[in-house]
Chain length 312, copies 2
Amino acid sequence: MADDQVPVHYEDLALLETKFDEVDRQILAKQYILSAPLYAKRQDIISKIDNFWPLVFEQSPPDLDRYITPNDANIFAKLKSLDVTRFEIPMGPENIDADSGDPRSIAIRFEFDQNDYFTNSVLEKKFWYRRSKDGWTGLVSEPVKIDWKAKDPTEGLLAASIAVFEARKKAGDMKKKGFAAHNKLLELIETNNVDNTSFFSWFGFISADRYRVESPEPDEEDMLEMVESDDVHPEGEELAQLIAEDVWPNAIKYFTQAQEMEDMSEMDFEDLSDDDDDNEPIDLRALVGKGKPKTKPSSNGGGEPPKKKQKK
Amino acid sequence: MADDQVPVHYEDLALLETKFDEVDRQILAKQYILSAPLYAKRQDIISKIDNFWPLVFEQSPPDLDRYITPNDANIFAKLKSLDVTRFEIPMGPENIDADSGDPRSIAIRFEFDQNDYFTNSVLEKKFWYRRSKDGWTGLVSEPVKIDWKAKDPTEGLLAASIAVFEARKKAGDMKKKGFAAHNKLLELIETNNVDNTSFFSWFGFISADRYRVESPEPDEEDMLEMVESDDVHPEGEELAQLIAEDVWPNAIKYFTQAQEMEDMSEMDFEDLSDDDDDNEPIDLRALVGKGKPKTKPSSNGGGEPPKKKQKK
């Protein structure tokens, strides 16, 4: 079964994959347009519920938890609103099949109440779904500046990432290195454990594409391969997708689970009240954070929108 | 933030979830109908490629591997064809929004070449997506008989499951227990490690719903809760979804990876040929099975059809 025996079938399969891809794009756009009014309605209801998003982030999947440090959790306790949009999908039914932009491009917008860490009330990060010359496809982004007050949970990584990005843009060479800001960024990445870095370093993410480049060749020009292995958040794309494709669509489920955890915790407290000091304040967030959720939305490995399972 | 403060918002959110669910069903049906001609074309191309499905199953994700014993792998080496259909979706564009049946119901049909284990050339298992009175939703199925030759890799579990199912159907009581066949099934489940059971026990799977019933109450009648904790394949629903939503839509990707593994293995053999006996036959399947795939399709946690990433 060597390649030379079945080359024509290989080509057929590759061609077919592009057609499957086209159906996926159409379906994603159609789903976005059909569910947009429901998400708008959801935002309206959510805005009347205290701590909706902090509870969702507390209850959200372990995959997300590993990106959130205790410091980050303090900031997410002040998360007022989350919004995920697919900004390259033209709205309006007449445009469903239009080919302008990719439905996989996403914008993730956080709105925060006043907090001790930064002065920004809104942090928005945009991701463009793009294809590079050699066939790689994925999300590319630009760093987003955060105006820190005193403590910077990213330990300077975000600022260093922005400095490098700006310097490169100015120089018109997105692969430029060896300059002071770049050396500083590499140094910071080395001294900080990137895997344990703050969630907010993610705002400095540019593209996962560079991680494919093990020995970059200067004569290979590729607009997407801007820098090599110096991203402050190597898993930035996974994290963006986790928010856009799990936290965002399943927010009501996570919130409901958080409420159920709260109810269970209150029952526990009642059961134990004989042995306990009364009037002890219940630390909802700590309880929710430690408890095991009763149910998890099933992960969806492949070709369809998720089933909304409700196991109660 | 106790329940009594926000009851109306809870109801709004629950109502909204049913509307999201309706969009998901529409989208799933639409995706199925749009991609049906592509899957038909794929089946046509695949039929001309030797060992397509055995290679896909070799290369498919670790999640699936843990359901396949070495014995099972011998049988999958004879897998001639796989077909996944959503049999409750009415085909034809005029029926896209029709409400007859659930797009999440699936039929998984295996076609085998002659093999040492059973005489059946086709094994088909159907799963109906259903909702029980208390709100649980999921897949329910009926056991499928396999005509074993000599060795039965399920160690009698499948046959025992079918005997119980048939006896219950005859008695008109799907919760009946304590009869000889039921005792035998329980005994077999106990003596066999269910977690390490053969893939083919899955053909005896009925429903995961029963596993929610910890202390069944005889006065609670529920058509879906047919039996309690005596299913021969507790993860039957997950396995069905893994095949329908990962193996099936990503088959070309897994096949391509298997081919790449083969190419790499051949290169390795060339590199090592100085030390090796020449003319040694290459055990493709063993090589593919042991190697680490270079890429994996990303898992899709939530609300959208998968992106078809192509990292090469």
